[in-house]
């Protein structure tokens, strides 16, 4: 199904120095991502998920190892790898929704003609369902809407890889669910490669083809779980629960009590799902 290797991470290591302290944020990370693949990265807080993504994006220089995109080593940030952050403040507040996207198109020199830029920007706004809000300023949007605009902006410069660092992490469950659904749709439509960081097991299972599980101190890959569940994925599926248990155990929750509470989270999530049939923006 996946032919070429889009992204190769080769023996990546990242060490931070915070004063006297030496933080081994990432160590010996090896990962190959095929074109069009949807990868999830999950792990406890502080295990280096963001660091990994930032190394791929080119915001951080690896201490050792390489990041290669389609055969050539990256040297810095680029529009072929667009990042979507968890932070709601990632939109430029001095531009309207539409202007934010037009600005991205302009500086990325995607289209020269201003009229065409506007058309392109509208196209991506439509993709995330925000056509009616193009003239609002970011401060007038809800958190979910902001994240949609951020996704639209990232998509507009036609990256090959979309890097998403817990983009739905600060959203309520209902918004989160609908955005997950839309992300899958967009992914299918565009054939993008997506690397998606989350700390939510359900989210990882719902979205990814493979789930990379990290552990902290030092940040290393402990397992890569294949997820071949057919989409749309149902939380009810036996396989879903099997993967859930597997990840849960890998993340170190072996205590039965914790498992119970984990299951009840699943249950809660199921209820949220039903709620999510309510109309949304």
């Amino acid at each position: 199904m996946f032919s070429k290797e889009e992204l190769v991470i080769d023996n990546l290591g990242k060490i931070y120095y915070a004063g006297e302290q030496r933080i081994n944020a990432l160590q010996q990370i090896d990962l190959k991502v095929k074109t069009g693949e949807f990868i999830n990265i999950i792990g406890p807080s502080g295990c280096g998920k963001s660091t990994l993504l930032r190394c791929i994006a080119g915001f951080e220089k690896p201490t050792v190892g390489r990041v290669k995109v389609r055969g050539s080593e990256i040297s810095g940030p680029g529009i072929d790898r667009m990042m979507v952050f968890q932070d709601f403040e990632q939109l430029f507040p001095w531009y309207t929704v539409l202007e934010n996207i037009i600005f991205a198109l302009r500086v990325a020199r995607i289209s020269i003609d201003p009229k065409k830029r506007k058309k392109v920007a509208r196209y991506y706004l439509k993709m995330v369902g925000l056509t009616r809000f193009e003239d609002l300023y970011p401060h007038q949007l809800s958190g979910g809407m902001k994240q949609r605009v951020a996704i639209a902006r990232a998509l507009s410069v036609q990256p090959r890889i979309l890097l998403m660092d817990e983009p739905f992490g600060s959203l309520d469950a209902i918004t989160r669910f609908s955005l997950q659904k839309e992300l899958i749709r967009i992914w299918k439509d565009t054939g993008l490669t997506i690397i998606f960081v989350t700390h939510n097991i359900e989210e990882a299972i719902i979205l990814g083809d493979r789930i990379v599980i990290l552990e902290a101190n030092p940040g290393t890959i402990i397992e890569i779980v294949e997820n071949t569940l057919s989409r749309p994925r149902s939380l009810e599926a036996v396989e879903f629960n099997r993967i859930w248990e597997q990840i849960h155990t890998l993340l170190g929750f072996e205590n039965r009590e914790q498992q119970e509470s984990g299951k009840s989270i699943t249950k809660l999530f199921r209820e949220e799902r039903e709620l999510s049939f309510l109309p949304h923006a």
């Binding site: 915001f59 529009i79 952050f85 990632q90 430029f92 507040p93 007038q140």
Partner: protein
């Protein structure tokens, strides 16, 4: 929609303040007419306004206003340039940032007018000294605000900019400056007020001026010729100009930028 509501509240505020000021003016006129105070020292508002009208008609005061504004413009312009350079250097190097902060802590509380004697010794009397005092009064609040402003720009927004391929000057132009704009605006506002005060004070305290002189010199001169209504007239002009710039320049810009963008704390 939010904007129109804001405009409405602005109009209301203007109305309230206008009424208050008119009340004060009436009180002034009445108080002056009772002659509780020597009329020479406390002239009636009407005499002040009549005087002012003739001075405006004669062109005397307009020349002084433009001279004052010219001095403030030049001083403020230099201050903005200096602040931009220093704040940029402070952005680049932590060492310079520390120095700038130390310098700011020392010199910011010093009123510009207090350095006038030294400036006169160095630069002599005349417009260049007044410009220097204006520059000194304006540059610290500008640096302080620019410095904090640039540092307060969202790290995420900077990274979005870098992700899109911005770096160096373009990153400053498209992300850092607009991101720091609320602070920049505040800085320029404070700097303007201080520069304006300094220009008047410098001319009034030392009568140091060149050519026709500005509003401070106008007041100073009128005081010595005991033309007290003209002294009040000069003050009135200073107040009005300050108010006009605040209301019609800064508030105008603020409503169209920072408030529209939701970048204010309120």
């Amino acid at each position: 929609m939010k904007l129109t509501r804001f405009k409405k509240s602005l109009r209301n505020k203007t109305l309230n303040q206008g009424m208050f000021i008119i009340g004060m003016m009436i009180l002034w006129e009445l108080l002056a007419r009772t002659e509780c105070f020597p009329p020479l020292l406390f002239p009636s508002l009407s005499s002040i306004l009549i005087n002012l009208a003739t001075e405006i008609a004669s062109g005397e005061i307009l020349g002084m206003i433009s001279f004052s504004l010219y001095l403030v413009g030049v001083g403020l312009g230099f201050a903005i340039l200096t602040a931009a350079v220093i704040a940029t250097l402070a952005m680049i190097s932590q060492l310079i940032s520390d120095w700038v902060q130390a310098l700011m802590a020392i010199l910011h509380p010093l009123p510009g007018i207090a350095v006038l004697p030294i400036i006169i010794l160095w630069l002599g009397t005349g417009p260049q000294s007044i410009i220097a005092v204006i520059w000194f009064s304006a540059v610290w609040p500008l640096i302080a605000n620019l410095h904090t402003g640039l540092r307060s720009v969202s790290a995420t927004q900077i990274e979005v900019g870098r992700n899109l391929g911005l770096k160096g000057i373009t990153l400053v132009r498209f992300v850092l400056l607009p991101g720091a704009f609320p602070y920049i605006l505040t800085g320029i506002r404070i700097a303007w007020a201080r520069a304006w005060q300094a220009s008047v004070a410098a001319e009034m305290v030392f009568g140091a001026s060149g050519g026709i002189g500005g509003l401070g010199w106008f007041i100073y001169k009128k005081r010595f010729f005991m033309e007290i209504p003209s002294v009040f007239g000069g003050m009135l002009v200073i107040i009005l100009l300050g108010l006009l710039v605040e209301r019609f320049c800064f508030e105008y810009v603020e409503v169209r930028t920072v408030r529209r963008w939701g970048m204010t704390s309120e």
